[in-house]
Amino acid sequence: MPPVISVEGLTRKFGQLTAVDNISFQVEEKTIFGFLGPNGAGKTTTISILCTLLNPTSGKAMVNGHDCKKDPRLVRSSIGVVFQDSTLDKDLTAYENLVFHAYIYGVHKKEIKNRVEDALRFMGLFERKHDLVKKFSGGMKRRLEVARGLIHRPKVLFMDEPTLGLDPQSRSHLWEAISELPKEHGVTVFMTTHYMDEAEVCDGLAIIDGGRIIARGSPEDLKRSLGGDVIFLKTKDNRAAGLKIKEILGIVPEENEDELFLTSGRAEEQIPAIIKALPDMVLSVRFQRPTLNDVFLKFTGREIRRQDVTGQDSLKEDLRAYVRRH
């Protein structure tokens, strides 16, 4: 079976800035594919190109067998999109939002009611269907957007940071539904995230940083590629300690935020040796089995930083209400 998304040498420049730099990847049908990277890595730009909202500067992107640049309408009719910021009409009810979507995607009139109600049930919003969206919580809005994205039975559902800014409970609730999509609805999920725990559950991953894909594979493959546990230590003198460690273990530790870290086979065996070799110098020591964060750290030399959503959305709400009143 050919891949449902296929990207070849994709590049997108904004003036001097290269947001996406010659990336290539494939996504297999009915899988969850994660695009992992820090903010500003080029994730949203890539999604925008795949959703035909942006043209690539060069390279080729195919979705469901259609060229994103040449046949945008064919691409659009086979995809669903959940954007990072809400794209619901808050002055309409949940039900009305979905009906609008069904019409604009040409769903047959007779089927609209059923599909809308099924989607609302699937995302657990059926009881609230006649409420205005402005009364919904962030988590409910996001679930409503996923429901909406499924109404026209797309082949691929794109989600840009679907759980960003949600509280843990809404996150897990939403995530539960997302993970059922490939099996229950035969949908391929393409999502961006900077949450490692979400990336863990993906079938395939591409790690992107600075517009480039720096690693690709399943989460297991990527972690295995690190070759062992990661030991972190804080010392009184990182430079001296680094040299000493190189001497005894033959590994040059790297430094991140005042902390040395090194990857080596089994931490339980290495730590005593390290402490012994650095008398009175070690302030603290810890180790981790490799995680995707370490994979990221390994390839980029830094951690993915979590970023909170700005209060911009709610600010916009207030302003809008203000403008309306005046």
Binding site: L53, L54, D89, H101, Y103, G106
Partner: protein, 255 residues
């Protein structure tokens, strides 16, 4: 077929929101009536009865033009709101032609405007205007055509702005000049030549003139219509087509 459905649902969305917001309806009806009765009553003392007709009667087509202008442009620039709150993206990723979106939005403006024009038009007996059934019907139909043209013009404008801070700019530099230079409040024949030219470039001028043609075609002199009815219709139709094409092109343009 998808495109017809899309146009239909875009119009329904606008109507639904319009009906829900009672205050919007009240204020949009109040504005033209305030102008008609307060400005009209005050100004009519200044205008000599020998000018041809009472001033309130003269501005009535202009007041209808005002109703159309505000309602259809407001409806169109709600696109800026949709941009700001993201809903426009939902429409733009849908498998629908850009021109259908523009037509849908223009028809939304037309629908909302027609309701308001109908209400304002119905005060004609109060100002001593006598209109036949045919004149009322013709005014409503022309009103729709003009609303469509102004709404599509509004979309062209909306494509240039990203946020509602621009709203007052649009209000002060586009809507108000369009209103004053449309022949609504004073005959364009009496304007200095530079302003006369500006008013000829104003799409609303032909709308107001068309309504003057319907209501007092026989009126000669400065207070009568400036162009022939056919010319008015021609300009309105052609400009609508041009605006729809322009707006679709601007929408399609990807950064």
């Amino acid at each position: 077929m998808t495109d017809l459905n899309a146009i239909y649902v875009i119009v329904m969305r606008e109507l639904k929101k319009f009906v829900r917001e009672k205050s919007r309806l009240v204020s949009s009806i109040a504005r033209p009536l305030i102008w008609l009765f307060l400005v009209g009553a005050g100004m009519s003392r200044l205008v000599s009865p020998r000018a041809g007709m009472p001033y309130t009667r003269f501005i009535f087509p202009g007041i209808l033009g005002m109703t159309i202008l505000f309602s259809s442009i407001f409806s169109s620039i709600s696109i800026i709101w949709d941009k700001e709150f993201g809903f426009l993206k939902e429409i733009l990723v849908a498998p629908v032609r850009r021109s259908s979106i523009v037509i849908g939005k223009s028809l939304s403006g037309t629908a909302v405007s027609s309701i308001q024009v109908f209400i304002v038009l119905m005060v004609f007996p109060v100002i001593g205007e006598k209109l036949s059934f045919f004149q009322v019907l013709a005014t409503l139909l022309i009103g729709m055509l003009v609303a469509f043209s102004i709404a599509s013009f509004g979309i062209v404008i909306a494509t240039f702005y990203e946020n509602y801070e621009s709203f007052s700019v649009i209000m002060n530099f586009i809507i108000m000049p369009m209103f004053f230079l449309s022949g609504a409040m004073y005959p364009i024949k009496l304007l200095p030549s530079a302003l006369r030219w500006a008013s000829r470039l104003n799409p609303l001028t032909y709308g107001v003139d068309a309504i003057k043609n319907i209501m007092f075609r026989a009126q000669a002199g400065p207070m009568g219509p400036d162009f022939s009815f056919t010319a008015d219709i021609l300009v309105i139709v052609l400009s609508s087509v041009a605006f729809v094409i322009l707006a679709s092109v601007f929408f399609e343009r990807k950064q």
